[in-house]
């Protein structure tokens, strides 16, 4: 079945009334749980899992997927309005979305994020239709050396985000990499930096880290400040929607982000994290006004949002054809498939086209629904900011606690939130960028295991990184990027 035929077939599956109803239910529910900080899709999907037993496998998966990407729309709302990202991807969205909101332009940020998300997913579907066969082979072509080189490229590119103080940005990445070492070492089984706590054996909880670094730190910093300045009481309609020249700054960053997302998403693991950061770094690098980034640049929201939505779509290829889930939520969805006796694997595309293409088609329908649903809601979301902060922040703290607890039912993780929150507040006082810490944390374990794995496989020969064409290409890109930065900084020093 060609991609186009497959997609049309998928549409016929996804548009069946009973499937469509579950799709609508999933995206609406997803949006609302996504707005609640910290809870997101994880707890909701766990709860819905037993219910899916009574649905057809297609309806079940489409509903759960709806919760998943619906929660990404909702998560963008929490990130932009309150600086409460639940994932590294939405941490990138806060970089420029939150400054926009503080300038009273939350509506613009939300509009940009929603339209770019839609463009990203639309683009992702088109790529999938044309290249599904190619994408399903890409993952097996990537070896340990290639992954290690690719992730180091992602880190190097992203480190330039904090370009005003490169050392401070780099220090956050390295601190994140170190935090990523906590837990059981895959190769030796050694317990690293766990200090006798069994809860640390699987590493620091990502949601606790994100919530502490961003949410709790932000609450502490804002209790006094928000009361004094606040947000304009009356928000005029024209401030909700982007100005014409801002509208023009959405499509191209979104397209660039979507291309990055479609490619990296197909690589199992953290494709969507890398692509969000790369999209941000790319926009910053090619912009004529890089100084605007971090202070409310529309492109800084459009690129990464399009990238992570495009990546979410192509990520279903390795998830379904190799059974490698990109994150714990994808793993849950694989569990849902297994409940229905559907084993993800190489035969999925041919043996279950209903499932595969129905899901892809439902992405298109669901994203359209989300756009239609969310654009009118922008006014309501923004008016949330009119609630005095002293009413908001205790509620935020409770939702953060319960959200973190819902991940795996460990009170330990709430203690961790408190400690990380204190660290996060200290970092914000000294103007360190916590998004880079999160990036290092996510990529660290992958870089280390792939690096060590590559050297085990090559029996200790480091030339493996240059002998494999894919890895060699990434190594060349890393070298080029470092060279460009060095030349640029030299040029900056000389003319002064």
């Amino acid at each position: 079945m060609s991609g186009w035929e497959g997609f049309l077939h998928g549409l016929s599956v996804a548009l069946q009334p009973e499937v469509l109803i579950y799709c609508v239910f999933g995206v609406v529910l997803g949006t609302f749980v996504g707005v609640l900080p910290g809870i997101g899709a994880m707890a909701t999907i766990s709860l819905l899992l037993p219910i899916t037993y009574y649905l057809s496998p297609e309806a079940a998966l489409i509903m759960l997927a709806g919760v998943y990407y619906g929660s990404q729309y909702g998560g963008a709302v929490a990130s932009i309005l309150l600086r409460l990202p639940g994932t590294p991807q939405s941490a990138v969205t806060t970089l420029d979305g939150y400054p926009l909101a503080q300038q009273g332009r939350a509506g613009v940020a939300l509009f940009t994020s929603m339209t770019s998300s839609f463009l990203g997913s639309f683009f992702g579907i088109c790529v999938l239709i044309v290249l599904s066969g190619f994408l399903s082979r890409a993952a097996t072509a990537f070896g340990a050396a290639d992954y290690a080189a690719m992730m180091i490229l992602g880190l190097v590119a992203a480190s330039t985000i904090g370009a005003k103080h490169p050392a401070k940005g780099l220090a956050m990445v390295v601190l994140g990499l170190i935090l990523g070492c906590v837990g059981t070492d895959v190769n030796s089984g050694a317990q690293r930096f766990t200090f006798g706590q069994a809860e640390l054996m699987d590493g620091v909880n990502l949601v606790a880290l994100a919530m502490g670094l961003f949410g709790v730190a932000e609450v502490i910093a804002n209790i006094q400040v928000a009361e004094r300045t606040g947000v304009p009481r009356r928000i005029a309609m024209r401030d909700l929607l982007p100005r014409r020249e801002e509208l023009k700054r959405i499509p191209f960053p979104a397209l660039r982000g979507a291309s990055l997302g479609s490619f990296f998403g197909a690589l199992p693991g953290t494709g969507s994290t890398i692509s969000s950061f790369l999209a941000y770094a790319t926009e910053r690098r090619i912009s004529r006004h890089p100084e605007k980034f971090g202070n409310g640049a529309v492109e800084g929201v459009a690129g990464p949002e399009a990238a992570n939505n495009a990546a979410a779509i192509s990520a279903f290829v390795p998830t379904l054809t190799l059974g490698i889930p990109g994150d714990p939520i994808m793993a849950l969805m694989l569990g849902a498939l297994v409940i229905h006796g559907v084993q993800p694997g190489p035969l999925m595309l041919e043996a279950r086209p209903d499932m595969f293409w129905g899901l892809i088609a439902s992405f298109g329908i669901g994203n359209l629904l989300l756009l239609i649903l969310n654009l009118p809601l922008i006014g309501i979301w923004v008016s949330m900011l009119r609630i005095p902060f002293r009413w908001l922040y205790p509620a935020i703290l409770i939702f953060v606690c319960l959200g973190v607890y819902s991940v795996r039912g460990a009170p330990f993780d709430i203690f961790a939130v408190a400690l990380i929150g204190a660290i996060g507040y200290a970092l914000s006082l000294a103007r360190f960028n916590p998004a880079l810490l999160l990036l290092g944390f996510v990529l660290g374990p992958l870089i280390e295991t792939n690096l060590r794995r590559a050297l085990l496989i090559s029996r200790g020969d480091p030339m493996i990184f240059l002998e494999r064409p894919i890895s060699a290409a990434f190594v060349a890109a890393i070298a080029a990027l470092i060279l460009v930065s060095v030349v640029q900084s030299l040029r900056r020093v000389r003319p002064a």
Binding site: G143, P325, G409
Partner: protein
């Protein structure tokens, strides 16, 4: 003291001992039961627990709340079960690792398997299969052993981490077959299969359900299975025991069991064991477990106890060998 009076006294003593158990038997369970699972919702051990506890709740007439406490390969689930302190209403299901190898692999384990955990019933077992790429030089186990024996570490295998079932099984196999293979750890079976297909590594032990689709798709082939008898979910796969120089008693299986904190009322454990054995005899339950790659086991609590002791010994010896190598 006449004989009859003494008999009456003994009888009374027996009664006083027996009465609490009987009284509790009639009243138990009077509230919902909690079952701790050391893996997240939707994972294979979680689904297995639910397949058993759903009918069990119906038999007992009380709901069973599944408490997912994932982490540390299932160890957190047992720790949390032992912390719950709601005696006779707290139980757990666990895979073999936390009951057999965890004391060796996890410092500060926080519990002593023999003293703190009471076995209830073995639910199911899962053998592993040895998988290689479809174009691997050998087509059977003897050929594989010849290839692997040509030179130390010339053949590599993937596992899902140090001390995992896949790692220990491969080391047990190497030991018994007299070969030396290169261990490459991964984090999931899906990654191992991908690496074998991409020719990054040569082989790996994994659950049959993880491999079967790739065999059908023609990218992987299976050389043998670690159970003592052929397995329905891996049709046509030869048993490894007794082949290619392996001893006849060669066996390596993962398992999943229902457990309770030590100190749980004996009568309750016996009742649960009987109820679980009835549930496991149901063909519908057997089919659902088989679809996930599990073979129904059952048996008495004492048999489970023996299995724990035996496996602790077997895998302990393998761990000794691994530690000696490094």
């Amino acid at each position: 003291m006449t004989i009859s009076r003494r008999a009456a006294l003994i009888g009374a003593a027996v009664l006083t001992f027996a009465t609490p158990a009987l009284a509790q038997d009639a009243a138990w369970p009077s509230k919902p039961l909690h079952t701790f699972v050391g893996f997240p919702a939707g994972s294979s051990p979680d689904l297995l627990a639910r397949i058993v506890t759903d009918p069990l709740a119906a038999t007992l007439g009380q709901p069973i709340v599944i408490e997912n406490k994932p982490g540390a390969g299932g160890v957190i689930g047992i720790q949390q079960m032992l912390n719950a302190k709601d005696q006779d209403y707290t139980f757990g299901t666990t895979i073999n690792g936390p009951m057999t190898t965890a004391p060796r692999l996890v410092p500060d384990l926080g519990y002593d398997v023999a003293a703190d955990v009471a076995p209830v019933a073995l639910i199911a077992t899962s053998p592993l299969v040895l998988v290689v790429a479809a174009d691997f030089v050998a087509d059977d186990l003897a050929g594989f052993v010849t290839a692997a024996g040509a030179e130390p570490e010339v053949v590599s295998y993937g596992s899902v981490g140090k001390g995992s079932g896949a790692h220990l099984t491969a080391e047990l196999f190497s030991d018994r077959a007299g070969v030396e293979m290169l261990h490459i750890p991964y984090t999931s079976y899906a990654e191992v299969t991908t690496a074998i297909i991409g020719h990054e590594i040569d082989s790996g032990f994994m659950a049959p359900s993880a491999a079967m689709q790739y065999v059908e798709a023609g990218t992987l082939k299976i050389l043998g299975i670690t159970s003592q008898v052929p397995f329905d979910q891996a049709p046509g796969v030869p048993v490894m025991a007794g082949q290619a120089g392996l001893p006849d008693d060669f066996r390596a299986e993962l398992w999943n069991a229902f457990i309770a904190p030590a100190g749980t009322d004996e009568a309750i454990i016996n009742k649960l064991n009987a109820d679980i054995n009835v549930i496991l005899a149901d063909p519908a339950v057997q089919k659902r477990l088989a679809d996930m790659g599990w073979q129904v086991a059952g048996g008495t609590a004492a048999e489970l106890q023996q299995r724990i002791v035996e496996d602790t010994e077997i895998w302990g010896a393998v761990l000794d060998r691994i530690d000696a190598k490094n």
